[in-house]
Amino acid sequence: MEEYRDLFLAEANDYLQSLNRCLLEMEKTPKGEQLTEMFRAAHSLKGMAGTMGYDLISGLTHEMESLLDQLRSGEAAVDKDFTNLLFDAVDLVQLLVDNLESQDNFSAEVKALEKKLQDWGKQGQIHEHLPPVRDEQSAGDGGAGGKRIAWEDLINEFEKEMLKDAFSRGEKVYQIYICLRRGSLLKSVRAFMVLKNTEKQGEVIKTLPSIPDLEEETFDREFFLLLIGKPDIASLTQSLENISEVEKVEITKVQMNIEPKFEEATLQGDFPTDRANMQKRPTNMEEVASLKGASSPSVLENSNVVPEMDISQVIKRARTASNRTAEKTIRVETAKLDNLVNLVGELIINRTRVIELGKKIEDELLEDSLEQLERITAELQSAVMTLRMVPIKQVFDRFPRMVRDLSVEKQKEIELIISGEETELDRTLVNQVGDPLVHLLRNAIDHGLEDREERVKKGKDPVGKIYLEAHHEGSHVVVSVEDDGRGIDPAIIKDKALEKNIISPEEADKIGREEALRLIFRSGFSTSREVTDISGRGVGMDVVKASIEAINGTVEVKSEPGRGCKFVLRLPLTLAIIRTLMVESSKEVYAVPIEAVRENLYIEPQDIKTIQGGKVITLREEVLPLYSLKEILGMGKFEEQDIYPVVVVQAGDKKAGFIVDELLGQQEVVIKSLSKFVNDIKGIAGATVLGDGRVTLILDVAGLLEDGRF
């Protein structure tokens, strides 16, 4: 049961996400597809909840489903009140899903909302600007159902060329639908006859099902042909109807766009091309006006009645369909995935050992196969790492709804423009980047963007814009939040920082523009309400910075007063692997995350000065405290030497030099957490396993520098 519940939760959240997205789209431009998609989501939710015995959820989604169904048939109106009502319903379902254990507490709310939904349905006015939508079931079962196969998705390059040639000769494309009599015993023969007769009038370039399938009778009693040529429709229909056991014939003209651009849109989409799937995909089936009196259609009438296809619509629908990648993915428990990653890590470590052993043996054949092994394992590793990667869309998808709600609350008109949501990063990071982004977006809406009047007065577009963008940059993911609001004035920040004693007057004089902006990240800067009102920014920016730095990322801020403000987050691609500088100290190897390392240098004893009993060095006119890594780790005493290797590290505003025994070079390492029994050691971020199987500690520079000693 537990297992099913997790599955239910995962799927329910997906459906809720899609309901939210559709509602948002519908608010902007109501379209039939959204209703259909929402209807499906509500329907699936209802079914799942019913199976699980979550009656409240299934009851509520049932009402949503009925209302949506009425809308689809044009029996109810869509307007702002309606979307708000549905938003409420979606929120309530979300609440129920989030509180599965205690959902009964909400039964009063559910009942009230169910009532509202029912009442809305009863008002039942037909709304003009929302066309009724039919899916394939409602289009009548009496024949091809006016169905038009999405041939564009099925034809290959060769057939496309044939079509192009045919078009250039002024020929047309027709879809021929044949239905054989129930219980026909010689289906393949009938199909062959049909084919033969049709080919007298042109060229059949494609059949559905395929010709081998027709020959082997692996079809029920319907099939389609795609014909090019200039056929005489009446005589063709006649000749086909004369074939015995043919019950029904429908010939429709097909408008087909086979320009390369279109090909890209359709053929590269994730279309399942087998028959079974095709029948299930209403989005891909273009509806031709359904035929009246489907039992005995007159073909002449038919071919005249049928309107030519609206290509732009076909493309649009094809694109919607390509968004649906569900068939191509499976859900896997994250624990299984982590286990796999771990095992591959082990494999890599063992591979290194085997290769080292192999070098000793010096056998050519062995060397070759080891090389092979090395290559395959490297590929395996990178393939496995990509399994952990998920698109940042998972986080971004939350924001349109949030921005919408905030814009209503703050009475500001806001447009959120999202790009790069397909950018992938490690799933653990995706979870951790969400909150800081919420913070930044809230700030932008709350303090950054002006209200309508103010924007008009300043000659800006009355609608405030927020750009949320993500892209890859080397081994980093860059996420930026930019608004076109007031921006931040460094002078005001500086004044406020002075006032709050965050900086001294001397410091204030030295501080440049950029540095002044960075003051908003200092702790203690932004707790006061009054600061944020004047600066327009800065609620808990120190928290944002801390949480981004906790995942080895950085935050930058850029702003032009009056023009807007941009926050740029740079995140590592993955938390699991980091670049480190390996150092040796008291015979042990330690890994220092490269993000924290500023530089390496060698100093001589006379470079070390003493201030109040503590060692310091002067590096380019900057006085840095100097510590022996041995001593701060409590692993030994500082020893006099002729020359000392020093790693200059920085965490936040603190900089220091660590004296080590030896600098060993850079290495990428896989971070492993320490056991829960020993995980709260200050200054140790985790451990990693080196190629030879040894365990090495990864230092947490911030933790080391935070210590009271410094």
Binding site: L674, S675, F677, V689
Partner: protein, 170 residues
Amino acid sequence: MTNNKDALSNKDAVSEVQMVAFRLENEEFAIDIHQVREVLKITQVTPLPQSAHFIEGIINLRGEVIPVVDLRKRFELPSGERNDQTRIIIVEIQDSNVGLIVDSVTEVMRLSSSLIQPPPSKVAGTRTDLIQGVGKISDRLLIILDLNRILTSEEKIALEEVTLGENMEV
């Protein structure tokens, strides 16, 4: 773990527990086999700065980093020399793996629960608060460990005992 406890508390029932026996200094100890994952030869242990004195460090167990306790230090015994008999017993404590360094692993044995007695007030040279019971087989004396306390700090144990005492008075 629950098995073990039940076995101990239910002395009348003739049930058996399987134990892994090992040696530390001159004493013989035992752990319920259900908590034992595997036994390794001593390997290189990476020291862990600023951790409890009895934590020897961390090791790599097929990719998992696990802490290792020097049981001699834990029981305040003089530190002994590591030799080819020295073993690391990997045990599971509260869903996490922990290694225990012991002088040698002697055997796996079955022990009738009727032979297990509550810990005496004092076992020579060892700490009674880490002991769950004592098993007697003819002339052998097996000290059965309470693994849940192996990694708990002294202060916490002391605190637990104070609270326990108070509760008992009430």
